[in-house]
């Protein structure tokens, strides 16, 4: 029996390449290109100054499906809370 979370994750994983997904849907080792970022001025400012801008390519280094995750962006490792990661939309790269 699968719980709700696994259900949700399975849906996210079944999305084909090149689809736009929130960053937290990328698994460890997957790459993506940032398409859009949402949030208040403070959060956006922090995101951009740490290297996230539309068009940048990033890789997810660690994502256990819950809790924060780690992304590699512009050669820097950045930890993001799940909430913050959900505000960054990426185009999954094959």
């Amino acid at each position: 029996m699968r719980n709700k979370w696994e259900e949700h994750r399975a849906t996210a994983l079944s999305v084909p390449d090149n689809e736009i997904v929130p960053l937290d849907a990328l698994r460890a080792g997957e790459h993506g290109v940032v398409v859009e970022m949402n949030g208040g001025r403070g959060v956006l400012c922090r995101m951009t100054s740490l290297g996230f801008t539309p068009g940048v390519e990033l890789a997810v280094v660690q994502n256990f499906g819950r809790g924060p995750l780690i992304a590699l962006v512009r050669d820097a490792r950045v930890a993001l809370g799940r909430g913050e990661a959900g505000r960054i939309y990426v185009r999954r790269k094959p």
Binding site: M37, G39, R41, G42, V43, L44, C45, R46, M47, T48, S49, L50, G51, T53, P54, G55, V56, V61, Q62, F64, G67, P68, I70, V73, R74, D75, A76, R77, V78, A79, L80, G81, G83, E84
Partner: protein
């Protein structure tokens, strides 16, 4: 040509993003000539030092580490205000060669300010290890500013940097940087804003910079210009800004595009798929299970150090230094009045002693915190603990400082500085006094066996658990009410691991300890003397002293839990140091501090009162040293008194609740 500062000194500002080795370079240049204080009115550390090179004196100011210059944090405001207002002769912008693109982001912002910039390309060795090949001359040609390759930790490139500072400071006419330009799609808007504010920008702010910050939606600059422009002018600016409220991300993207063009020819990137040391270590250190285990191991080691090294040192300091001083004072003052001897020995030397005996534990904790920060582990600890800390409205970074509160609340409060978000930092400081410190545990360990016999261990653990539960609930409560449930965004860099620099850590420990002795020390001494006076005057005995009168006056409050005035006085004196309660109880019950006291107490008070006393002791206002650093770190008497009031209320409330529950179950 800009003249040098009036006294012939050259003013150099050191800027850079966090984790680029700024303090290593600053320490190399200035060594022990540093002055450490706070930026005026802020709780951000300000370090300044001097250095002589080729017959010129340089005054170096270490600016706080910031990722950008848009006013989101105090650090960012301090950095840009310093450069704009003080106009340093040279700004050394430190960048991490291994994270070149991202760390040049701050440089892109610095280049738009009116001070000559030199780029110090630090950590060239790490970049090479990671597979980057960087040609500094090519980057220099592209940026139009000096670029100095360095490995600060190995002293490489330091002399070259000094020579370049010298050259730029004495020849500012030759400084012709390529300034980043805004992306084409926002150029017109920027020009429009600049035209609208032209002539109204207060000196010394550069007009084009103000226009850019307005476009980025910078809060401080927006407020400033709203005050400077007439209503009509502001209306016009505001209309333009409202039509482009997405400009923040576009401006940032533009900066990275510019950086990309600048470094394209200078950098050869590593082949994808290389696995570095950091990635291998992080598979363990940031793992949800192994990461916690590693963290627990590190904490265990810290406390082992505290007990194995810190506690004996504390004891030795107390016996030999404090005891020795008291002995000398006794001999000197033997012929004088008794009260003078008492004042010097118990008031002054007692106060000095309590400051002094804090030092071994502080040194250990500052050392551990400094080492973990320098290695790069601090961010990992924050990462694995973030989910849990969020439940209390705290940040992952709050965990380590708070946890160190188990040893002593003072470093817990001081350690809260690592937290960038002001709200999370404040909350951490306010909660730190609820951590059961060793001094409180000493009191519990003494009293619990007398009352509870074989159940003493259980009661002691129960007290710790209670304190932690109260801490968590207080966190949730304060966060929900005063901070209205807002929480700091969790976006944090995990720096590359590197070998710690003993010099950096050593200087940090030295400065922090010195600052504690200087600042908190004076307050501790003053309160120590004041409480001594209250407990001695007017007749030289504590039983008839003013303090006893205060205790009797407060007794009705204590009656709610079965306390008499003597327990109240013991609580009051625990303000100097928690262990004082036992000594004072010994005097008040005429038994000394030995086993006799415990037995006497057990016959006088019922278990319910004893339990309540332990609870209050556990949650009561902290010792004066902790209060002193709470004031220092919040920079506000209002928050300090709020904290004291809150703890008073909580300790009394929980104490009364425990007392009545105990009575109900027949204790």
């Amino acid at each position: 040509m800009r003249s040098e500062s009036q006294d012939g000194e050259i003013l150099v500002a050191l800027a850079g993003q966090p984790n680029v080795g700024k303090s290593t370079i600053f320490n190399l240049f200035t060594g022990l000539s540093q002055h450490v204080g706070n930026w005026p009115g802020k709780t951000v550390e300000r370090k300044e030092g001097t250095l002589a090179h080729n017959g010129t004196t340089y005054r170096l100011v270490d600016l706080p580490g910031t990722y950008s210059l848009t006013a989101n944090s105090t650090e960012e405001v301090i950095t840009r205000e310093f450069i704009i207002r003080e106009q340093p002769d040279v700004v050394v912008a430190l960048v991490d060669a291994a994270i070149l693109e991202r760390s040049l982001y701050l440089v892109a912002e610095l280049l738009t300010l009116p001070a000559p910039v030199i780029v110090a390309l630090n950590m060239m060795d790490v970049a090479e290890q990671e597979g980057f090949r960087i040609e500094p001359e090519v980057l220099e040609a592209a940026l139009g500013v000096k670029v100095v390759p360095m490995v600060a930790s190995k002293n490489i490139g330091v002399r070259e940097l000094l020579d370049d500072i010298d050259e730029v400071a004495h020849n500012s006419n030759a400084y012709k940087p390529k300034r980043p330009e805004i992306r084409a799609d926002h150029r017109e808007v920027l020009e429009e804003i600049e035209k609208l504010v032209a002539g109204c920008v207060p000196a010394p702010y550069p007009q084009d910079w103000v226009a850019l910050k307005l476009l980025e939606g910078d809060h401080e600059i927006t407020e400033m210009m709203r005050g400077c422009l007439s209503d009509g002018q502001w209306e016009a600016v505001h209309d333009v800004l409202r039509a482009h409220d997405d400009a923040l991300v576009a401006v940032a993207s533009g900066r990275y595009e510019w950086i990309g063009r600048m470094i394209r020819a200078a950098v050869t990137r590593p082949k994808a798929g290389q696995i570095g040391l950091t990635e291998r270590l992080d598979r363990w250190a940031t793992h949800p299970f192994w990461g916690l285990l590693i963290l627990a191991g590190i904490l265990g080691l810290t406390f082992w150090l505290t007990y194995a090294v810190g506690a004996p040192l504390q004891g030795a300091l107390d016996t030999y230094v404090v005891g020795g001083l008291a002995g000398v004072a006794h001999t000197w003052l033997a012929g004088g009045p008794g009260w003078l001897d008492d004042l010097v020995v118990n008031g002054i030397i007692g106060g000095v002693g309590s400051v002094l005996t804090f030092l071994p534990i502080l040194v250990i904790f500052f050392g551990v915190m400094g080492a973990l920060e320098d290695v790069g582990y601090m961010a990992r600890a924050a990462y694995v603990m973030d989910g849990f800390m969020h439940l209390m409205g705290l940040h992952g970074k709050s965990f380590l400082p708070l946890f160190l509160g188990f040893g002593c609340n003072v470093p817990a409060v001081l350690g809260a500085r690592v937290i960038e978000s002001r709200r999370a930092r404040l909350l951490t400081i306010l909660l730190a006094p609820l951590m059961p410190c060793t001094a409180r545990m000493t009191v519990i360990a003494f009293l619990a066996p007398a009352f509870f016999g074989p159940a003493a261990t259980l009661v002691s653990w129960g007290m710790i658990l209670l304190a932690l539960v109260v801490l968590a609930l207080s966190g949730v409560l304060i966060n929900k009410t005063i901070f209205r449930g807002q929480r700091a965004a969790f976006i944090m860099e995990l720096p590359l691991y590197h070998v710690p620099n003993p010099r950096t850590i050593g200087l940090l420990v030295w400065q922090r300890s010195l600052s504690f002795v200087k600042k908190a020390g004076t307050l501790i001494l003053a309160v120590s003397v004041a409480v001594w006076a209250l407990s001695t005057l007017p007749h030289g005995e504590i039983e008839t002293s003013f303090l006893a009168r205060v205790g009797r006056w407060l007794e009705p409050g204590g009656r709610l839990m079965g306390f008499d005035w003597r327990l109240m006085v013991a609580l009051l004196t625990s303000f100097i140091a928690k262990e004082n309660s036992i000594a004072v109880l010994g005097v008040l019950f005429g038994t000394g501090e030995g086993v006799g006291l415990a037995k006497t107490l057990a016959t006088i008070f019922p278990l319910s009162t004893a339990l309540a006393f332990l609870v209050v002791q556990m949650l009561f206002i902290p010792c004066v040293a902790t209060v002193a650093v709470v004031k220092q770190e919040t920079n506000s008497w209002r928050w300090t008194f709020f904290n004291l009031g809150f703890l008073l209320l909580v300790s009394w409330g929980v104490g009364i609740a425990v007392y009545w529950i105990a009575r109900l179950v027949g204790l």
